[in-house]
Symmetry: C2
Subunit: 291 residues, 2 copies
Amino acid sequence: MKTRIEKSIESALGSARRSSRSSAPPKLAAALDYAVKPGGARIRPTILTSVALACGDDRPDLTNAAAASLEMIHCASLVHDDMPCFDDADIRRGKPSVHKAFSESLALLVGDTLIVNAFDVLGEAAEKSPARGIKLVRLLSAAAGSPEGICAGQAWESEIKVDLGAYHRAKTGALFVAATCMGAAAAGHDPAPWADLGSRIGQAFQIADDLADALKTEEELGKPVGQDVIHNRPNAVSERGVAGAIAYLEDALSGAISSIPSCPGEAALCELVRHTAEKLTPILPTPAARV
Amino acid sequence: MKTRIEKSIESALGSARRSSRSSAPPKLAAALDYAVKPGGARIRPTILTSVALACGDDRPDLTNAAAASLEMIHCASLVHDDMPCFDDADIRRGKPSVHKAFSESLALLVGDTLIVNAFDVLGEAAEKSPARGIKLVRLLSAAAGSPEGICAGQAWESEIKVDLGAYHRAKTGALFVAATCMGAAAAGHDPAPWADLGSRIGQAFQIADDLADALKTEEELGKPVGQDVIHNRPNAVSERGVAGAIAYLEDALSGAISSIPSCPGEAALCELVRHTAEKLTPILPTPAARV
């Protein structure tokens, strides 16, 4: 699974670096690579591919393109969120953020390029099955844009009066909903019944992220911590306390498992969600600290 | 034509502001409007719509979506190019640029949202004709991204050794090629024979823009002038002198007219290119100054 996803991402990056007629400017090409590799857990494309497999995965090229496109949008959001006008973060995934390693102008362009080329990757793979392709384009654009996607989610941080539900659904939930729905759509299934699973995984992920931001060190996470307090952002720990946030996370994970639609690969998917839960567990405080 | 295009853009903005389930954060919604309206000449969507009409325009909804999506990408590029890490321009279309009127973070998000929602607009209109829709997605992403689109074009400005041809084709030409090709594709025609016309109109536009940047005042243009010299960017006037650049512009326009593919609306299209030439003429120096 990991190899399959990395190969798809590499191929997508390759087509942003070079076409049959021309090559990208060298610094942009290098910065694109730097922004996307080495990745984090690749959790969104993993969920997408797992759902596609559970639905039969009869067009693996389309699944692979969808997985790569979703990860490109995620990486674009990290690059732009790290910029000085947002989090002004110097470190990401344990190395200097893109604007620190290259420049602000290249970071801006890397984000833009990743967004645009995500759609190019989908379009290229969908030429032989355009009906599925257009569904994938719409699922990805809804998750990335406005009013329900990550652009809107990020923009809620500029408001004094925030719709908290809309903020969380858009900022974190949307790409997880896209992960499950795009996995189903790539395999020719109706995406609608898969939205709930994505939404619950997203919720669990957000709570785990809030716990990590509140409790871990910069060294452990490979990025600055305490950002939610600094930027006065809503956070499950400040709202519910550590024990409350952990109980909330456990509820979200068991809710995710029970929301998996009936499908041939249902058992494998339950396994994936459990595996995701295990991945989230190391960032939880030790049982002693949880008291 | 103008009403048709403005209506399509308004509808596209509307779907970025509000869905059946939620509304965009108010500042983002306001900044999206501010970035796109009132527009400039809307030259790219006008060319797109004219080519679609010349090709029969049998799916006007798709033509309208394509025109709006192309203008959204163009506006996104203006918003991001004006930001402090690029041109640091305070003025655009005679009013404060988006980062000045709102904030840098909102300007960044406005650009991102316009890019993403451009694809959403295409995807929504293409649900009933996905094969044309996927072609339009690919034409738009090629024109906007890397290695041949405006992101790559802008990134050439970060290089010491610049491929000038690639720079101009990507930075200015790409969206004009998209205009002619998307117009043909929206009407179900093969886009390939239309690329040359777009490329020549783009070349003419670039030369006219270079002349304006070198010769006009900020008041006349509604944006800062002399930017090419300040940012050490290639410019037809510094390469050929004023008279040379004007001769080059006239050649490009007559080349554009002669490259129009044979089609039912050929005469009307010739008229459009002539009209474009007239629009470009006022920014030329007066005959006395041309000596």
